[in-house]
Amino acid sequence: MNQRLLSLSPVDLAIIILYFAAVLAIGFYLKRYTKTGEDFFLAGREMTAWVAGLSFLAANLGSLELMGWAAAAYQYGILATHWYWIGAIPAMLFLGLVMMPFYYISKTHSVPGYLKLRFGESSRALAAISFGFMTVLMSGINMYSMALVLKVVLGWDIHFSIWVSSLTVAAYVFLGGLLSAIFNEVLQFVLIWLGALLISIIGLIETGGWNGMVERIHQNFPGQNFTHLWSTLGSFSDNPMGIHWVGIVFGLGAIISFGYWTTDFLVVQRVLAAKDVRSAKMAPIIGSGFKMLVPFIVILPGLLGLAVLPEHLVGEGQAVATGAHSYNEVLPLMLARYCGPGLLGLGITALIAGFMSGMAGNVSAFATVWTYDIYRPFIRGNATDGHYVSVGRWCTILGVLVSIGTAYLVMQFQSIMDYVQALFSFFIAPLFGTVVLGMLWRRATPAGGFWGLLAGTVSSIGMWAWVKIDPLALRYVALSPRAKDMAENMYRALWSWLICVAVTVIVSSLTRPKPVEELTGLVYGCTELPSEGHLPLYQRPIFWASIVAGVFVVLNIIFW
């Protein structure tokens, strides 16, 4: 694959250059409004529910979301939608309705900060160091992946892509902190939609609608089922993903998704920037409404690729060996199929915006956790607010430089990508166990929280290593020797969460709990939550959450 997939016209280049100019201009403009730590790290806690909600979703849309899930849709069919629906919507609603009030009322700056208030310094340190370390590594991996995509798709030099995109992100986050990151994420969210939506619209026109698309997929891939969400999940061998519904519901829907959406500070930080508790509750609910629609611009292009592309795409290894196009190229191929000059530039801008919003999310979250959860408690505790803002700014640069270093490391040792992504997943599921028990169970003790988190993380790493050393262990970890990587991740998350919860409960029952007065604002039953009884129905978060939940159920039934 030495040839690039797409050629850009001058108008396409103008659109991309204009985008870079706009995000930098926003950073420069917002610098004057970023004076205090509250401004830099939490955007002044002034965001409306809409801005916080869209930013919350845009930070997640980053990394390899668009390209990766379009590719997954081509490979696994509509099953990839589970990561947007059951793998996101219930967790986002739970965050908004149940957990957000505690994060917000406790006035914490971060998720590790909440652990400090609830369980003490040792839990905070474990969470902060793991999160900070993994975040910059992930950011570097995403950066490398983006540069690789731009090289394959546009023929751009890989070093040029890495440095230009990362320095742009560093500049606007350095200047305006979270405020700038959030402003740009909302802009990026709009561009992602407007750049990617056209593929689905023209694709459906070409196939004659949904039914026409399904018919063509059946013609192109006889005997395979790419268009049903649940009906093929009764057996590991009946679907292209090799997964069972138990793994999807309990591993993905109950653990991985709740872990990511409710405890990953990368996304939670956006909601902490909301202007009041009601906005903080509404933001994830608004985000969930849009999340439910994202398959229209990510999954549908993958399915349309199955229907209309003349050639069959293949896995990355086979693509390299044979020169065929890989699954990962489905979105650029669809862009090239439908988008002429101008529209192509908008589509590429959507891809770059997706990468940059994710990178900015990582970097701004890293700067906050480093400054508030590592630097202030362990290195210098009595400095001025201005000093911490300064540390946060330089930490942004440091984070980007480490990310660039990781990108180059991955370039040399591709296998690092697999290890780091697995490492990141080790932490999320147990962290959810610790946080949710901390919020909902007043009897959970500091020792229980720390040892539960540690046991969950260590057991997750242990199960991963066990399967690496002895592949036959898959039958125990994932309940089937036929389980694929994704299925293994689901079950590993489920076990590590259960171990975290079990250890937390056992250790808590053997140790002394905190006095109730120290749990005020942190734990359900010890905290007075603001009443919403005086609000009209349409302004209550529960009303909109019910609507989203209803649509979620209907969509799952329609595509059953």
Partner: protein, 73 residues
Amino acid sequence: MHRPGMLSIWFFIGALLLAYGVLILGAGLYELAVPPEHPVVHADLHAGIWWGALLIALGSFYSVRFAPGRNKK
């Protein structure tokens, strides 16, 4: 979000969409006048023209609605 004198994010978005709309509509009209040698699938839909027009409409609305001086809350 509503500090005195601060421009709304929606103004930035509107301005960028307006600029993009002009560029994309222009490219679409040029393609209509000078059809390319290798047209994209469904080039007959002239997506550049109506998508560009849509961006201009959205961009104009947000640029005017959230223009400096009107965003006082």
